[in-house]
Every structure is written in C-alpha cells, then in structure tokens.
Amino acid sequence: MMLEGVKIALGYKIRNGPWGGGNQFLISFKDYFESGGARVTDHLEEALDMVVMVNPRKGSGTFDYNDVLKYKRRNPKTKIIFRVNDTDKSGKIYKADKLRLKSCRLADAVVFISDWIRDYYIERGFDCRIPHIVIRNGADENIFNPQGYSVWDSSRPLKIVTHHWSDNCMKGADIYQYFDQLLDDPWMKQRFEFTYIGQLPSYPTKVQFRNTRYIPPLSGMALAGELKKHHVYLTAARWEGCGMHQLEGACCGLPVLFIDEGGGAVECCEGFGIQFTKDTFAISLFKMLKQYIGFQPKMRTFPLNATLMVRKYADFILSVLKK
C-alpha cells in the first residue's frame, strides 16, 4: 500500500470515552493509516513526511502553530496539512479565526470539513490559491450502523434523541428547552418522546429539563446502542464546522431533524431528514411524523462514514506528498 512507511504527526492525543468530533476523527485516522503501514505519532518527531495540524492554538493539542512553524523551518521538505474544523461562530470562548487563517498560509494544503466552513474562511480572506479540499467527517460504521435499529410503527410515540459531549448552549439548548416545554402538553407526550444524552447545557446558562429523559454522556457501542432505541435524531447545534453527533445518529439509521443554522451540519443532513428554523421547529416534528417512512430507504444510503472519510484523507495526503 502506498501509505507504507509514511510517517505522520497528528497534533492531538487520543482520549478514551465520550469526547467530541475531533477525537473521533483522530481515532479513525490513526486506525486507517496504521493499518495501511503508515506510522502515526502525536508529536513533532524528526523525519516526518507529513504534519496534520488540527488545532493551532497553544495548549490545545500536542503541538500548535508556532511549533509547526519552527519545525517547518528546520524540515522544509515535511508537508503540512491543516485540517480546519472550527470557527469562532460556534460560540467557543477562545477566538481563533485569525490564527486558523495564519495556519492556512503556513500549510502546504488545507482540508475543510465542510463546504460551509470553507466558504466561511474564504469570506474572511482565505487565499484560494493554497491547495484545499473539503472532506466531511464520517462516523465509524463498525459502531454506528443500523443493525438493531427498530423502525417506528406509528402506533407509539416517535422517540427523538440528541447527544452532545459539550455543555455549550450553542449546541441547541434553546430548541431542546423549547421541545421540553412543548412536552408539557399530554397530547404532545402521546406523540413524541425526547432523550438528551451527554453533558447538559450549562454555558453560559444552566438548562434543566422537565419532560426530557436525560442520560449522562455515553460513547462507542453504548452510545450507538442507545441511539438505536430511538427513531429520529435531532440536532439544533448552531454553526457546527461539520459535526459528528448527527452523523452518528444518521449512520444508526435515524432520520435527522436539523436546524437551518447548523453550519456544516446542514449539508451532511440534506436529503436525510427535515430542516427547521427556530420558528418552524414545532411543525418539523409533525412533518417527520408524516414523512418518516419515506426516509427509511434513504437512511441505508447515508454516505458519511469514517472509512470513506479516511480514504479521502489518504488520497489527498498522498497527492500532497507527491508534489
């Protein structure tokens, strides 16, 4: 295999348990590249063929922008790929758009994790002459697949689920709380159930639910098993670079209710569920009741899995290494 012997540094340590999309990416990436014969390290060792920078901010990973800059000066032949997976718009405390744009200028090539995030940085001055590509996230299909998913039979409440590892209210807290309020009505409770898995939104304000079933953070098979106990996935997260949570839901066979302000999440979900706005959220629930069955065959074709994603990375990395 052409990856044989390639030495790649990824700027993060992999963590176990329920962490965000970036961690999922690292796991899939490392597995695939190592099985292809590449050597994947999380530090800037000598004689690297490729450095993949995921977060250029100081202290956020095992190396940052300045480390890569210094390394590149010493090792000009080492190629740098910057994977751009976040924006200041997503509500993080630390602002890093400018640093990301600076990192793009240092890179030999840039991967944006969605069309939306690419366009976001183009609007902010990204130099389109820098080689770049869009590779969307993908969920591990060995874990997140429709095996064991039970199709809703319309005589029972439609079970809707979401999950978030972050406590940031930008992950859709306003909509989840609104849904919780709608479920005050017993008539609604006969038709819908809602489960929230993960860390409860608490930043900047703490959210509490009355009618929503809450499950603490889960990951891997336990998460997939829980998702499959539901019929529909809901994501109200705003301005996601791409998002992983909705892909995990969709890969488990759940049609997706997704917010129009979802950033990169929108392009992943289009065709596999129903888009809503803050104003139309309530009607999207009823639309899903009516259209649910129509989505079932489509969900089997949901394409955003980890194998597909890392293959694209492999192709892209090899093309960059050839230059």
């Binding site: 309020q181 709608l182 008539w187 609604m188 139309t280 309530a282 009607i283 009823f286 639309k287």
Partner: protein
C-alpha cells in the same frame, strides 16, 4: 314591563364593520325597542335608565360626570355601567382609563362586566364589590351569524382558517398571524392549511405602516351578512387576540359553526371559547394547528351547543333591568 321605559344609551350606533361595542348597541336597541322601550342616545329628561358604556370624555354622547349632574336633578333614574374594556387590552399607552371606569362604577346602581376575566381584573384594581354587579357576556345576532351554509372540513383538502379584526391594534394577535404567515412559506404546510385575514391589517402604532402578509389571503373589512358568508367559506376560526375584555369576533366565528383556535392570553375570550376549540400559548401555536386537524370532528359537533347569542345576552340585560325597578 319594559313597555314605555326610556333608556339612554351613551353612544350613537354606526353602520358597517365596527367593533364589539357597536354590535352590542345595535342588538340592545333592537331588542328593547321590540319590547316597547324607547332608546335615546342623549341624557334626555325623563330617562328611566342610563346605560353608560364608555366614561371617556368625547368617546360617546355622555360620560359619568354628565351622569352625576343628571342624577342630581333626576335621583330616581337608574344607572348601569357596562364595563367592556381595560388598559391591558391596549398596546400603546392610552393613559389610566381603568381608574376612570372604576369612578364610573361608583355612580352606578349596577355594573355589568362582559366577562369573568374582566370582573376579576377590576376587582384586583379595587372595584367595590358592594356595588351590585354581574357578568353578561357578549352575544351575536343569530339571524346573521349562524351555521346555515357552513360546510365542514373533510380530510384531504387544506383546512381553511380565518380571523377578522376591525382594529389595527397589534394586541389583536399580529405576532401570531405573522408567525402563521411564515409557517405557510413551507409548501407542506400549504397543503395542510390556508389562512384568511379579514379586516384592518395590524400596525404597531397608528402612524406605522401595515403588516404585509405573503402567504395569507387578505380581505378588507366586512360586516353583517357579507362577513358571515365569508366566515362560512372557512372551516376553523383563529383568534390570537390578547387581553380582550370579551371579544365579539370569535363569537361570530363560533356562531357560524367554526371550531376555535384561541390564545390562552385572550383575557375574556378564553372563557367563551373553552370547550369549543383548541387553546394555544405564545410558544405552542403551531401545535394547536395539528391538534385541530386531529380533533376537528369532535369540535364541529359541539358547535351546535355554542350559545353566546345576542338573544341570550339581551334576556340577561332584561332580567337585570327589571330587577332594578
């Protein structure tokens, strides 16, 4: 016993699409004249009974201060104040008219509130419960607003929803109608629902421009048979009006056979609508549309029992008046 009684009503009646107060006057006049009473619109000597509707100077033909002077000369004349409005209904600052109404109550032999909600509102504001008082809800003319010609909705076609307002007051539910208009941008929603707005379009202030709807059919103000006929072209009546003292529009819709979708913050409207449709809050309005799709059959059968007619209302006024004499 009403034969020969001279009643002074504090308003001139207007023709055409005017608010609930005007409807009341027309119906009251008609009923009591048929009973042999004489209705006048000014404080004429020899009046046996005065009905004060609005104590605001300049809004009617007389106010409570005129009544005080009149009563000094004519102590035997009885006075009924019909309380049909409150400050809470008005979005813009109109000054403290509630205090004025409470003052008017003090010169009355009896007070009629047009809803329990309005009665409780004034009790909270200091209405003296020692004054004889009762609740008589509005009623509509069954000769005009009846279910003859109403065609119930059948699943498979869009449910036609209608509202009508003679006032441009934003509190008549403009925010909800704008929301409905937005929801109808979705073709799927258009397959389920249609919405018609009859009347004066909402404005935030008298000088600001009217709201422009994109997906709502608009019909300029109508009244009488033309209004009733138009209402009957629809299946369901929607009122999003807030803090209505009693409301007339929803009664006209309901008397035409249309089940109601009504705002929980409707004030006096709520008690007249309960049992005849679906209640919504500011947050769950869209849900009420789908609830109505499901529960319409049950409600449409109940509409035959809707009894807020002018006849019922006028009989209650008759009982009250006879009790005073």
């Amino acid at each position: 016993m009403l034969d020969g009684i001279k009643i002074a009503l504090g308003y001139e009646i207007r023709e055409g699409p005017w608010g609930g107060g005007n409807q009341f006057l027309a119906s009251f006049k008609d009923y009591f004249e048929k009973k042999g009473s004489r209705i006048v619109h000014h404080l004429e000597e020899g009046s046996d009974l005065i009905i004060l509707i609005n104590p605001l100077r300049g809004s009617g033909t007389f106010n409570h201060k005129d009544i005080i002077r009149f009563k000094r000369r004519n102590p035997k004349t009885k006075v009924i104040t019909r309380v049909n409005d409150c400050n809470k209904s008005k979005l813009n600052d109109v000054g403290d008219r509630d205090t004025l109404r409470l003052e008017a109550c003090k010169v009355s032999d009896a007070v009629v509130f047009i809803s329990e909600w309005l009665r409780d509102y004034y009790i909270e504001k200091g209405f003296n419960r020692g004054i004889r008082h009762t609740v008589i809800r509005n009623g509509v003319d069954k000769e005009v607003f009846n279910a003859e010609g109403y065609t119930p909705w059948e699943p498979g076609i869009p449910m036609k929803i209608v509202t009508h307002h003679w006032s441009y007051n934003w509190n008549k539910g403009a925010d909800i109608y704008i929301w409905f208009d937005k929801l109808l941008e979705d073709p799927w929603m258009k397959e389920q629902f249609e919405f018609t707005y009859i009347g004066r379009l909402p404005r935030i202030t008298p000088k600001s421009s009217e709201v422009k709807f994109k997906n709502i059919r608009y019909i300029p103000p109508l009244s009488g048979m033309a209004l009733a006929d138009e209402l009957k072209e629809h299946h369901v009546y929607l009122t999003a009006s807030r803090w209505e003292p009693g409301g007339m529009h929803q009664l006209e819709g309901a008397c035409c056979g249309l089940p109601l979708i009504f705002n929980r913050e409707g004030g006096g409207i709520v008690e007249s609508c309960r049992g005849f449709g679906v209640e919504f809050t500011e947050e769950n309005f869209p849900i009420s549309l789908f609830k109505m799709l499901e529960q319409y059959r049950d409600f449409v059968l109940k509409m035959n029992n809707f009894s807020s007619t002018a006849d019922v209302m006028n009989k209650k006024y008759e009982e009250l008046i006879l009790g005073l004499f």
